[in-house]
Amino acid sequence: MSALFLLQQCLIGLTNGGLIALVALGYTMVYGVLRFINFAHGDLIMLGACAALGLVAPLGLAATGGPPSLATWLGIVAMVLLCGLFCGGLNVAVDRFVYRPLREAPALAPLVSAIGVSFIFMNIGLAWIGPADRGFPQVVPAASLLPGNGVQFGWKDLLVLVVAMPLIVGTMLLMRTTRLGKAVRAVAQDRTAAALMGIDVDRMVATTFFLAGFLGGAASVIAGLYTNTISYQMGFQNGLYAMTAAVLGGLGSIRGAVAGGFVVGLVRALSTAYAGERWTGAIVFAVLIVVLAFRPEGLLGHRVKEKV
């Protein structure tokens, strides 16, 4: 198959990768501070998508065929902010009432609680939007921005990158350069030491949950506008690929999650294109197993010494 075809598949892979990376950040940040995989994150995004669907009409958005107007862009920004606040707030509340009481509990207790929370979220989603797939209005058209019929890169694909990239870069800068980021990283490295240094650990954990939730809320808006379908079961698959990306990149590593997201997106697109859609699921996970067999800490993770 031609070079143009390869280029097309890479573009699709990168676009998907941006979305996956945004979700993966949520996994890796929470893992960083609390050392547990937040299984409810995918379903949090599902609830965000339900909220986004509810916001379409109040924000004056509607399905269009033409290029998005300024009002549309403003509406989308408002939707990202509102859904981000919603998911961030929800995530903080869950941390406060479910995970915080378990800080000193056996390591697997928060994990099982997270699975429980994910079931509760799914039931809320089921009651909210019903059991069937729901169409999400095509607020941003799919029409290609590029001339000719060779390679397609539409407004929707642009939207993913325009929303995801600033958030990803912003998160990286926030964690690297600000006092807040430093404090969160300190908590991630050693909770007790951070507390002794006068850092309010509970507040930093809550902040992390809020940031993770906010990014998830933004991802839910993108997922709605990009795939144009939401369902109460969408959290699982979204979560699974993002979780894979976070582990592939190195759990706890911000840069790793971003890199992992793009790698998973590309592997998915290319395996569908060349091996066939039916094998895609297996290939993505096989890549993960192979990478981890050779680099247990993930692509960009840090080797951690086991302490006696």
């Binding site: 050392r35 547990f36 699975i115 039931n123 582990v247 039916r278 297996a282 247990p296």
Partner: protein, 353 residues
């Protein structure tokens, strides 16, 4: 009275086994639908005990137990269904299946042993997905989404006192009930022995402090690999029984992540590393889904009659939330599980309150 109570609580396995063994004589429902449901419960109990070897005894988080369950079911089906020339009978096929699956567990364990807790968990999850997709796509061998059927019941073709044993199994669920109960009793007995064996102690040592265990001359690699293989073998036994009771492997989606998660939740909810805890966890979680909800819903339907058609009234609409809330609450108030293992409770210092 108090003495009797003490006697019972010390020998709870024997008492429970005896009660369950005589139950079909007094409970006619066990000859029908309920028998099938309870048999499924027993099979899940075996699966959970297999997972407990990894998660409870050895402290390795495993999110792909369903894959081994599935491999066990499929190997037994390949060796027995009329589609293929083997047709070696269920018992022999089950033995092969358990050995093969243990080998697969061993082979997976090798390359990923270096991984630390959560990365290992994700690898087992990934392995589960790879197995599911492969089972779905290798249609010539696995029948794809159609699955393989019919898996003949154990003893098909063997005639005892004028009755074909296979037919007996197919007609009366009590045969499977006793078969699964016997297998479960065997697994519980074996686990009890293992807990206090050299290997069992090595598992615990690696779980509690790997570098310290290594310093004592315990090979962490060997110990972990044996846990991988043992857990795969027990899961395969459950898979063999599962395929036989359903008379089909069902489709590959029956062995997906959801099943692994359900069993994992049961083990942790009941109490990691604790045999009675694991059994109780399965009874609660799986029983809720397969026995209690259908029974409660048909009761609601019969009471309210056809006049009330609101779907909100049915428990089924809220089962996800009930299930999730149960997990959250148990973890909140009994973080070490409902019946924590004594050893682990001591380790955490407060689990058994």
């Amino acid at each position: 009275m108090a003495a009797a109570w003490k006697w019972i609580s010390q020998r709870w396995e024997v008492v429970a086994l005896a009660l369950l063994a005589v139950a079909p004589l007094f409970v006619p429902a066990l000859g029908g639908a309920l028998g099938g449901q309870v048999t499924t419960l027993f099979i899940y109990c075996i699966l959970a005990l297999g997972l407990n070897v990894m998660v409870g005894y050895t402290g390795l988080l495993h999110l792909g137990i369903a894959a081994f369950f599935g491999i066990g079911a499929y190997v037994v089906a390949i060796l027995t269904v009329p589609l293929f020339p083997f047709q070696i009978g269920w018992l022999a096929a089950a033995a092969v299946s358990i050995a093969v699956t243990a080998g697969v567990g061993f082979a997976l364990g090798g390359p990923v042993l270096k991984l630390r807790g959560d990365a290992l968990a994700i690898v087992t999850l990934a392995f589960g997905e790879v197995v599911k997709v492969t089972l779905r796509n290798l249609e010539q061998v696995t029948g794809g989404m159609k699955g393989l059927n019919p898996v003949p019941p154990p003893g098909a073709g063997v005639t005892v006192a004028g009755t074909d044993l296979g037919l007996a199994f197919a007609v009366d669920p009590r045969w499977f009930y006793y078969l699964a109960l016997a297998a479960l009793a065997g697994v519980v007995w074996a686990m009890r022995r293992l807990e206090n064996s050299r290997l069992g102690r090595a598992w615990a040592a690696v779980r509690e402090d790997e570098p310290a265990a290594a310093a004592l001359g315990i090979s962490a690699t060997q110990v972990k690999l044996s846990a991988f293989a043992m857990s795969a073998a027990v899961a395969a036994l459950a898979g063999c029984l599962y395929a036989a009771t359903l008379s089909t492997t069902a489709d590959p989606n029956a062995y997906d992540f959801n099943r692994s998660i359900l069993v994992l939740c049961a083990v942790i909810l009941g109490g990691l590393g604790s045999i009675p805890g694991t059994l109780l966890g399965v009874a609660i979680l799986v029983g809720f889904d397969t026995v209690l909800i259908p029974a409660a819903d048909s009761l609601i339907q019969q009471l309210s009659g056809a006049a009330d058609r609101s779907s909100l009234l049915s428990l089924a609409s809220w089962r996800l939330a009930i299930f999730g809330l149960a997990l959250v609450l148990v973890m909140r108030y009994r973080p070490a599980g409902l019946i924590p293992s004594r050893r682990l409770a001591a380790e955490w210092g407060r689990g058994g309150r």
